[in-house]
Amino acid sequence: MGAPVILLQNVWFSHNGEPVLENVNLAIRKGDFTALIGPNGGGKTTLIRLMVGLLKPDKGKIRVLGKPPRSVATRLGYVPQNIGANQRFPVSVLDVVLMGRLTTFRRWPRHSRKDKDAARKALEAMEMWEFRNRHVGELSGGQQQRVMIARALATEPEILFLDEPTASVDTKHQSEFYEILRELNRVVTIVIVCHELMMINAYVKSVACVNRCVHYHGDAEVTQEMIDMYQCPVELVAHGLPHRVLKEHNGDERASS
């Protein structure tokens, strides 16, 4: 089994005095495919940003690959939630993906053959190589999302963090997208924020429910405890796949009716 690749111990985080995460304990093993679910504002994005080192916890310990996140940041792939906030930004698909090859103070404006090969491989994996010279802002939301994922893949990460990667991918391409992730998961540990319960059931190996506290489950199922304590179904209902979950787990409603 080995040591966990991601370890959070008694982690607290607040924003402007408002508690966002309280006493989070979480251990994710190598090769895992973990889904973070929970209501909006529950702290999923914060949790991911803590794990990649973009935020610092108020209290507690975070170890990623055995070290503080900031010191291993270049070994992590990160796909942020908001893609291309600046749609007019003049940058080509290939240039965005090459950003994944940046290192501290590279000092020379040329990319090496190795960098170009890695970028090509990542774009081909996301089936976006033919778009390499296109302006990113001209692409559809789903295509832009793939470019962001290709950029994360170009870093050749050991752990891949994805924050709602399918938000702008149409349903038809979602299962295709999860197939790619499954393929990647053979070598890469994946942590993903997502809402599609059907996808979670089919692809994910473990689930963590985030709503200020974190309830982690080693299996890919949403338990009664999660529903009661973390109000996960609220979110799941909102995303249109309520029936199975509610039938299996929502005892309260049955009791009250």
């Binding site: 973009l54 990160y78 003049p90 240039d95 950003m99 940046l102 103070f105 404006p109 302006h135 870093t155």
Partner: protein
């Protein structure tokens, strides 16, 4: 124009204009893609405090303006580091305080008859040889820094968080960019004056942004456009004996509106084709 070049001041003006175009193209592009036009405006106007200081202490214009804008730029960099797009109030205050300091310092300078207009609208026709050399060095510094750190600036401008994860020292480059803006602003004040700095810094990149696929080409096209505007404006101001700084901006402004009409026409034609 050719005969005008027989005058030394015209040759100097042309050289100053072209050097300023180079910095405008590079720094203007970074300012526009980072959406920090307001911060640049703040630095430009606060530079007036430096002009006042130079007059008060009897220093050369470049030394006073550059030193003061550099300090203001570093303060603004510190203030905007955490939230690059949300520090409007403090920038506005620094903007105004800088100018006020300049006015008070010139008031306090005994017997000084201030030629405000030359600082507000530039004095490209009165650039001495020494200032030209300083401008050349400044342009060189900006060019070298941009080439050397192009990918860092690109990554930081496009996605700060991702750049940070890749180990790009974002805070360092944020301060460096502000410093480079201060450098270029001081140069451009010479050419078009501090009121019009923002126009020359932003019009060429705004036009370029729509037609190019990369930041580097945006810088090149913006530099060319700035050069056309400055040389064109200079020629018109010489021919009709009008204020050169304002003329340069007017040429840029006309080009700006032409490009908007051009886009409008192009998209109208496209939709008609799509419909038919």
């Amino acid at each position: 124009m050719i005969e005008a070049l027989s005058y030394e001041f015209m040759r100097n003006a042309l050289a100053a204009g072209l050097l300023a175009s180079l910095t405008c193209g590079i720094i203007g592009s970074l300012v526009v893609v980072n959406r920090i036009v307001f911060i640049s405006g703040g630095i430009a106007h606060a530079a007036y405090g430096g002009i006042g200081l130079a007059i008060y202490l009897g220093l050369p214009f470049m030394v006073g303006a550059l030193g003061f804008s550099m300090i203001i730029a570093m303060i603004m960099a510190a203030v905007t580091l955490k939230a690059r797009h949300r520090s409007d109030t403090i920038i506005g205050v620094l903007w105004a305080v800088g100018m006020a300091v300049g006015v008070i310092l010139t008031d306090l300078t005994p017997g000084y008859n201030v030629d405000l207009m030359s600082y507000l609208f530039g004095s490209i026709l009165a650039v001495p040889q020494t200032d030209l050399w300083i401008m050349a060095v400044m342009s060189g510094v900006i060019l070298i820094l941009t080439v050397l750190f192009y990918h860092d600036f690109l990554a930081m401008s496009y996605d700060e968080d991702f750049a940070r994860l890749r180990g790009v020292p974002v805070a360092f480059f944020h301060f460096l960019l502000m410093g480079m803006i201060a450098l270029s602003v001081v140069m451009i004040i010479r050419v078009v004056g501090l009121i019009l700095v923002i126009a020359l810094l932003t019009i060429p990149p705004y036009i370029s942004e729509k037609y190019v696929p990369s930041l580097s080409r945006m810088m090149i096209l913006s530099t060319l456009l700035s050069a056309v505007f400055t040389v064109g404006g200079l020629w018109l101001s010489y021919s009709f004996n009008l204020t050169s700084g304002a003329m340069i901006i007017l040429v840029g402004g006309v080009a700006f509106f032409l490009s908007i009409f051009f886009d409008y026409g192009r998209s109208a034609i496209r939709t008609r084709k799509g419909a038919g």
